[in-house]
Structures are given as C-alpha cells and as structure tokens.
C-alpha cells in the first residue's frame, strides 16, 4: 500500500493542449471537487510542465472508462492504463524529474471530466498496511439503494443515492522511527485539509492503478503504545473516501 505524501500540482494552472473547453484548467488542481474540467473532445492532453521529485500521478475522473490514460514526460510514456470503470487512478513509478509532465487521454464516447489530479511523492506503508478486516473501498460502490415494491413484494422502482465511503486504516506495529518522521510529514500535509490518495498496489511496478481511492476529512488518532516495546507504535486513521465508481 502506498499513500500519496504530497501534491506538487496543487493550485497550479496546467495547459490543456488538446480538447480544451470553456472550463478553467486550474479546476483540475483544486481540491474542491465541485470545480472540475470537462474536455471538449474524447481525446485530450494536459501539460503540467517541468515537475521534480514525482513518484505518483493520481487522478479522479468520470467518463474515463475504456479510455487509455497515459502519463508522459514529453513523448515518453511513463505509465499507461485503460480502466474499465470510472473512478480513481494512481500511477506509481520510480521517482523522477519530469521535463514536461503530461496527461494524455485517448478514446471515444463522452469526453472525460477530471475532478482532481495529484503528482508528487508517495510513502510506502510498512507491513503492507492491510490488516485483517481492512475494507477494500476501491471495490465497493458508494451508493445506497431503495426499492419500492408492490403488494406481492415485487420490485417496481429502484433508486440510488450517493453515499460517502468510510475508511479505517489500522497500522499496528509501525516502527517508531517511521512514525516520528515519514508519518509526521504526511500528517503535516493532510492537517491543512487537503485530500490524499491511497493505492493498494504493493510496488511501483504494479499495474493496478485502479486499486485506489481518494481520502478526505481524516480523523487522526494519536499513536498508541505497543504492548511490548517502544520501538513500535500502533496507528489508526479514519477518513471519508471517494472511489469514483
């Protein structure tokens, strides 16, 4: 499991090179998901320019299903994926300095809408981050349903309503050194109210960018002491999540 550590695109103004519409490009880099960018065409390209120290590129979008999403440094494809659902994607790769970070979307159908993008560092959660009972929120649906029935209890109408997902991340037995350095750095960033991404990929070479979700409104519990040693700490983080499906 990796968690995005920072976002070097926040509040920047990218350039939409292909598929520009009347929307404001900086909507993509705003943490406000009500500000988004819908391309004018199904094939689109966004240029973020030179960006250093980047090991992830994450995006939340809709109408991205069955479109090829690629992260490029100029023409070089760094990562690419064609999701089968709308949702959240986190591309991981070895840390690098981009000469010209680009997002390219290729496909057909309704143009994509990007609510948010993030690029920057990541932190790998020690011990994988997945304890027993951990809920894989990227595989669920953030909807509640209600069905009206007739006198024979047969369904006559089904309605859905969006519902915020809730994530509880239990991280037992974390090294105290990690908690006091990397974890603190992460908390310093999310404490200012930003959102962050969690991806369940276990290495930068994993090819499952869709195994991801975006988290917000974290509830940060104080680390609790280990029962046997001060070298280890128990962490718990709860937050609300959006998986885009």
């Amino acid at each position: 499991m990796y968690i995005t550590y920072d976002n070097r695109l926040k509040n920047t103004s990218p350039n939409v090179a292909t598929g520009a519409s009347g929307d404001v490009p900086s909507n993509m880099t705003s943490s406000d998901f009500s500000l988004n960018y819908t391309f004018a065409t199904s094939t689109a390209g966004v240029v973020f320019g030179a960006r250093a120290n980047i090991s992830h590129f994450a995006l939340s979008g809709i109408n991205i299903a069955n479109k090829e999403i690629s992260i490029r440094d100029n023409a070089e494809v760094i990562a690419s994926y064609t999701p089968s659902n709308n949702g959240v994607l986190v591309f991981l790769f070895e840390r690098r300095d981009f000469v010209n970070l680009r997002l390219v979307i290729k496909g057909s159908g309704q143009p994509a809408t990007i609510m948010h993008v993030s690029a920057g560092n990541t932190m790998k959660v020690p011990n994988g981050g997945e304890t027993s009972g951990y809920a894989r929120q990227w595989l669920t649906r953030g909807v509640k349903s209600r069905v009206a029935v007739n006198s024979l209890s047969q369904p006559i109408a089904a309605l859905q309503k969006s519902e915020t997902l809730k994530v509880t991340l239990s991280l037992p037995n974390m090294l105290t050194t990690w908690v006091e350095s990397t974890w603190q750095g992460f908390l310093n960033r999310i404490a200012v109210g930003d959102c962050f991404y969690i991806t369940e990929q276990d290495s930068v070479t994993s090819d499952k960018p869709q195994a991801s979700y975006v988290c917000f409104e974290p509830d940060i519990s104080a680390p609790t002491a280990h029962s046997q040693t001060r070298a280890l700490q128990n962490l718990q983080l709860t937050c609300r999540a959006y998986n885009g499906i």
């Binding site: 929307d23 404001v24 909507n27 406000d32 998901f33 009500s34 500000l35 988004n36 960018y37 819908t38 939340s60 809709i62 109408n63 309704q110 809408t113 609510m115 909807v143 509640k144 349903s145 209600r146 009206a148 029935v149 007739n150 006198s151 024979l152 369904p155 006559i156 109408a157 089904a158 309605l159 859905q160 309503k161 969006s162 519902e163 915020t164 959006y242 885009g244």
Partner: protein, 790 residues
C-alpha cells in the same frame, strides 16, 4: 434527451441542482472611486450580465460539470394545492438549507483579492453583496440511468420559484425560502379594476348631462362611469386633460344595458369619478386574463389558447355581462370569478404558467392508478371531506343596481338545485345546503350550471386521498382526473373499486430520501360516467321551470351517452309560451336519453293567453263610432317537451326496465290555446258602447291569462268590456265572455270569437325536432299531445 425520455427506467440515480440568477457587473466596477465587488450593490456601474450560481446536495453523485457547489443539506417543497370549491389554489413554496463554505462568489471582481477570497465564506458574501429577494431560483431535477449522465442543459425537469428570503440560521447554515411565481404579482395587494383618482370639478344636479371632471384621466366616449351610486354611459367628452374637462351623459338614470339599471342623483364637486370595467358578451377567459393582466401578470404566464379551449369546452354558452363598479381586492375578484364558474386556477412551476381547469363530473380519467404500481403499496390514506358535501345548492344572482349593497333584496333571480335521492333516508337522510355568495356576475345559464355542477361534484361525500408515488410511475399532473384502484376502497363484491374517480390536487416532490419520491393528494367525486361506461341516473324533483336536461347533467358532455333522467314527482313548467317546459339540449350525436316520470311527475307547457278584445275607431263625428274591431286572435299554447333532435325514450306508465325505478307514473300535457278577444259592436250603444272582452286563457301549468278588454276611447259614452277569464292549471280553458272565445283545455285550440276570429292553437306535448322519440305508457290519461308530434 428530455427529462421524460427515460422517466420510466426501473433503476434511477436522482440528483438535484439549484440555480440562482443574480445580475452582476462584469468588467469595470468601482464604488466611490474604489474597486468594487462586481454586484449591483457594490458597483457604481449598472449591471450588465447575469451570473447563475449552481448548488447541489451534499450527497449528489460526482457530476461531470464544473462550478456546482456541493453545499445543500436539504430541500423541501410545498407544492401548489388545488382548493376544491375555492377556485384559487394555495401557492407553492420551497425551503433550501445550505451549509456555507470557503470561497468567493465574485472571484473576478476588481476588489476581490486573495485576501478577500479568504475572508468570510461564500454564502455570507453572496448575501452581503446582493439583494436576493425576488431573484429567480430554479430546482432542476436530473436522473442518471444505466450510468449515463444527463445533458445538464436539456434533461432537467425545472421547477421555477422566486427567492422570498435568504437567511442565516447561524453556525454557517443558511436557508433560502422561495415562493411560486404567482406570488410575484402580489394578488393580495392589488385592486381590480385599477382605481383612478377621478373627481368632479363642479357640482351637478340630478338632471344635468354634462359632468365637469378632473384633468387627470383620459375619459373617452363609451366608458361607463360611477359617481356616488349613479352609473352613466359617456356619450361625448371635451377638454380632456385640461382644467375644463367634461364628459356628457345622454340620459341620466337610464339603463346602462339590458340588465343593469341606475338611479340619478345630484353630486357635489370633489365627488369621486370611477371608471368602471365593462364586460359585454365577453368570454370567461377574457375576464380572467384582464384581471391577471391588471395586477401585473406577464402574458407569458397565461396560456391564452389553453384557457380559451378549456372555457370553450366547459362553458361554451356562457358569456359575461357585468360591470365592475368599484376597486376591490383583486384576489377576491379572481376567486369570485373562479367559484362562479366552478374553475380551478393554479401555478404550475414546471410549465411555468397559470393553469385553468373547469370542474365537471364529465371530465374523463387520463390514467388508472393502481396501488402497488402507480401508488406505492400500503401508503394510501383516505379521509372523508363531509365539509364539502352538499345535496342542495342555491345561488342568488341578477343584480340590476350594481351600486346597491349586497343584500338579497337587491337581487332578482335565484337558481336552486337539489338531489332529493341523496337527501332520502336511504342515503344521507338530511338536506345539506350550499349557499353561494350573492352573485352579481353570472347569468341564467351560468347559474344553472353552477348549482347543477356543484351538486353533481359534491353530492356524495368527497374522499381526500394521499399516497406516495415513485417518479418512474408518475404519469399524471396536478389537475388531472384519474381512476384509483386500491385495496382501501372496495366495491360491493370486495374487489378494488375501479369506479373511484379523483382529481389530483397536489403533487409534492420529496428530496431527502434515497432518490426523489412524491406525495400525491387527490379528491374524489362520483363520476358521471364510470369506468364501465355506465352513467349514473340523474334524479330531478320539486318544482322546476324551463329546464334543459343537458345542463342538468352538468353540460359539456364529451361523448355520446346513454343517460337516464328520473323526474321524481317533479312539476316541470314554463312561464313562456315560446320556451318549452323541458328540453333536451345539446347532447352529443348518438346519445340515447331515457326519461322516466315517477310519483306523479308532470310536464306541461304554458297555456296560450287570450286575445285582446276589440275597440272602436272614431271618424268625423266623435260621438258615433264608425265601426268596432273584431278583437285579436288568441295566442298559441307552449311546448311541454322539446327533444331537440335527440333520441329519447319517455316512460309515463308501466314497466321501465330500470332496476331502481321499475314503474313509471307521470303526465305530459300539451297546454291549451288562448281564446280570441271579443268584438266591439258599434250597434250596441244603448246607452253605452262596450269594448270587446278578452278571450279566455288556455289551460296549462302556467295557465294562459285572460285577454285584456279592448282599449276604451276617450269619451264618457264608451265603457270597457271585461277582462277575459284565465285558464286553469287543472286542464280547463277560461270561459269566453260577451262574444270572446274560450281558452282551450289541455291540448285544445282556443275558441274563435263571435265573429269568427280564431283562437290560438293548442300547445304541443312532445316535439321531436328531428329526434327519434318513443313514448311508453302514454295513455290518454297520461299524455295529451295537442299539436305535438305523437
């Protein structure tokens, strides 16, 4: 794709966007030389654009559109609700609760720096920089079906309101209250007709015809003016707009039109001059349009074609002939118009127009709603509205002196209708009366329709239904008439009763559950035609005069019907020899009407009046008459039943084949003709010359009057003959006098006088007028034909 295109989809994901339009200043904006905030309140420059702010609920799905602020906690909407029998509906309203958030509503305005953007919160700044009251606010409902997002510009169902207030509830919460657009026009605060500040500049006696008036108003010939209690029609004007302005009236105290009268009186300088609103032969929709226009309703909200069509169907023969002689609360005037003609009016926030619908039991169902399908299972509730029920309706109308008070003595006519069957011990066992306010607007036809339609609509206790419905099953609108199939209302056999007919009075959207659903209200009535096409028998009782069965059934019958009228002991008559006592009216072609007379019901036309006696003509010597005239012919008797070309079966005795009224017992009598007036005899002068006596009146329920004696010349040697004898209502004509003819008995011609002048023709029993008419049990005792067709 439109909102309705995928409305019936089984699975739907609903969401709602609320839009608010606010005028802004785009570009240069300064306030007192300093940078401004881009709004009307914060710029010296005039507004030059409209900013549409869009908000959605906190639980809305992710939307592929930018700039929709996710900050609505809840939406509640009170839909407009028809107020049965009161005409004007209740107004719709909305409450939208917001949670404030960081941001700035005018980020591009010159004064909005990064510091300003970070100050305060979005909604608080929106409220501070704008007056939000009366701004359009729209609720736009969308759905996602099969993962496909709607077209945000074209796929919404938009519900239009106006902001009434935008208030902070503390803790970063705000509420926008809205009202429907009918409220924009503040009907409760407007007068109709529009008052003027007219006044007399000089006193005037009750004989003068020139009124010197104020220079403020544009008086024109043809206007009807009111000064004090006096009305007069303007025939000419002079010096209008100047100090010597005057208007002329042709005759003081003369009738304004064929209905309305006035009394002349003297007036003082300074007395108010009111410009009356006159309607002569106008249609109902014309009057309603004028009222709405006067209070400021834009024509775009009044679908004049729809209104005219509705009136043409349900009030085809009704015209409005009235004069509004004082400024009254427009709401009251509108309500009076609507209740007078049994109309409902409401504002539809989706179509964004004012709807008009007539109330009639003949209105047909547009959909059948079944519990478990269109009605959510186990959500339906029913409440008896006995407060609306009436078995007897009375309206007093025809007010010749419109400026007199509203006391009953100032009205000339009344229309009364009862349903005696419902008053019998087998039904409600009591008379429950509806007394309409005295009505100066309606005419005979409208009064008849009003009382009949009201009893037809509210004779059986209306049931108020409430239920929940899903959006994919919502196939009807407010005002529609539907049939209801529900387990909560069963027929005699215990099966759901499909004859339950109801008008939808309200459809209220509910936003705060999982997806939208709707709370629907409806009010039932006994339909004239049930779901099986069976028409209920209509019972007429009591004393009736000049009735038209088509109107008795409520008029505006949409299709050919097989309909039975039962005259239960009714005594049906006419006061005019040229108007039938009973006529069928304009039933659609193909209709078959059955009339069953029971309990001695009788239909008779008016007997013919006797002719006037002869008089004397005098030539050179005024003392000796040259000759006497022969007296006038008697008048013809009237008609008992005119079938107006309709196929009719009339049962007078014997078996009827009707389960409820198996045996007939009634009478139809042609009236008698009037006798001729007696001659004046120039040789009879010893010592006095008598003018001819009047002829006898014919028999009839309203018997023929005896004729007048001949006119008496102005000389002492002439004397009047006798007034003729009236006919009787029991079958005999008035006897002849001194050579005049006797009136005819039932179905008999009046007699000729002594010199052979003919009496009037006998009246007519049943006149077919082209219809196929069959009489059953028409024995000589039961039926007298006269000059009728049978």
């Amino acid at each position: 794709m439109a909102f309705d295109d995928n409305k019936q989809a089984f699975s739907q994901h609903h969401f709602t966007i609320v839009e608010i339009d606010i005028p802004i200043v785009s570009g240069t904006c300064t306030l007192g030389g300093q940078a401004g905030y881009g709004t009307a309140l914060t710029c010296d420059q005039p507004t030059n654009a409209t900013q549409t702010y869009r908000f959605t609920t906190l639980d809305a799905p992710t939307l592929p559109v930018s700039g929709v602020y996710r900050c609505i906690q809840s939406i509640s909407e009170s839909a407009t609700e028809l107020q049965s029998g009161r005409g004007l509906s209740s107004r719709g309203s909305i409450n939208i609760n917001f949670v404030d958030f960081k941001g700035d509503p005018n980020p591009l305005a010159p004064a909005v720096t990064n510091t300003v953007k970070n100050n305060g919160s979005f909604l608080a700044k929106l409220d501070a920089r704008n007056i939000l009251a009366n701004r359009p606010i729209r609720i736009k409902n969308y759905r996602i079906v099969d993962g496909v997002y709607p077209d945000f510009d074209n796929d919404a169902e938009t519900r239009h309101y106006l902001i009434e207030s935008f208030e902070s509830k503390g803790g970063g919460k705000w509420v926008a209250r809205g009202k429907d657009e009918l409220s924009r026009f503040n009907i409760n605060e407007k007068l109709y007709p529009e008052p003027t500040d007219g006044y007399l500049t000089q006193a005037i006696a009750d004989t003068g015809t020139r009124f010197y008036v104020d220079p403020n108003n544009q008086y024109t010939a043809g206007m009807v003016l009111r000064v004090g209690d006096e009305l007069f029609k303007v025939t000419g004007v002079g010096n209008i707009g100047s100090a010597g302005a005057y208007v002329d009236a042709a005759f003081r105290g003369s009738a304004i039109n064929s209905i309305h009268l006035t009394n002349r009186s003297e007036h003082s300088a300074g007395d108010e001059v009111f410009i009356c609103k006159v309607f002569s032969g106008a249609s109902i929709d014309d009057v309603l349009t004028d009222i709405c226009t006067t209070v400021g309703i834009d024509s775009q909200y009044m679908p004049s074609g729809d209104w005219a069509s509705e009136i043409a169907v349900w009030h085809s023969a009704t015209t409005v002939n009235t004069i509004f002689v004082e400024a009254e609360d427009a709401n009251d005037v509108l309500a009076k118009m609507l209740t007078s003609y049994m109309l409902d009016m409401w504002f539809d926030p989706v179509d964004r127009e004012i709807k008009l619908s007539a109330i009639s039991v003949w209105r047909q169902s547009v959909a059948t709603l079944t519990e478990g399908v269109q009605i959510d299972y186990d959500t339906i509730k029913r409440q008896a509205r006995d407060d609306l029920r009436a078995t007897n309706a009375l309206v007093v109308y025809n007010k010749p002196y419109l400026t007199s008070d509203d006391a009953i003595e100032n009205y000339k006519k009344a229309s009364l209708f009862s349903n005696s069957l419902l008053e019998s011990s087998d039904y409600y066992g009591e008379r429950k009366q509806k007394r309409f306010d005295n009505n100066p607007i309606i005419d005979d036809n409208a009064a008849e329709l009003l009382t009949r339609r009201f009893i037809a609509r509210y004779g059986i206790t209306p049931q108020a239904y409430t239920w929940k419905a899903q959006e994919n099953k919502l196939s009807y609108k407010t005002g529609d008439v539907v049939s209801i199939l529900t387990d909560s209302k069963v027929g005699f056999d215990g099966q759901p009763d499909g004859s339950t007919r109801a008008q939808i009075t309200s459809i209220k959207p509910n936003y705060n559950g999982i997806g939208r659903d709707y709370t629907v209200k409806a009010l039932t009535y006994a339909p004239a035609i049930n779901e099986s096409g069976v028409v209920n028998d209509l019972v007429i009782s009591g004393n009736q005069s000049q009735i038209t069965l088509y109107n008795e059934a409520g008029g505006a019958i949409p299709e050919a019907v097989n309909l039975t009228f039962v005259l239960d002991g009714a005594q049906v008559s006419s006061t005019s020899a040229i108007i039938p006592a009973l006529r069928l009216g304009a039933f659609p072609s193909g209709s078959v009407i059955t009339i069953i007379l029971i309990n001695g019901a009788t239909v008779q036309g008016k007997g013919g009046d006797g002719g006037t006696g002869g008089t004397y003509l005098i030539d050179d010597d005024p003392t000796i008459p040259d000759f006497g005239t022969n007296g006038q012919s008697g008048f013809d008797g009237g008609v008992a039943v005119d079938c107006d070309g309709v196929e009719v079966n009339i049962y007078l005795s014997g078996a009827t084949g009707n389960a409820t009224y198996p045996n007939a017992d009634g009478y139809i009598f042609a009236p008698g003709g009037g006798g001729a007036g007696g001659p004046a005899d120039p040789l009879s002068g010893d010592p006095l010359y008598y003018t001819g006596s009047g002829g006898g009146g014919g028999a009839g329920s309203t018997f023929g009057l005896g004729g007048s004696a001949g006119a008496v010349p102005d000389d002492v040697r002439f004397e009047s003959g006798a007034t003729g004898n009236n006919g009787t209502s029991t079958g005999n004509g008035g006897a002849g006098l001194d050579g005049s003819g006797a009136g005819g008995g039932y179905g008999q011609n009046g007699s000729a006088n002594a010199v052979g002048v003919a009496g009037g023709l006998a009246g007519k029993g049943v006149v077919d007028s082209g219809g196929v008419v069959t009489l059953y049990g028409a024995t000589a005792l039961r039926y007298i034909n006269g000059n009728g067709d049978h």
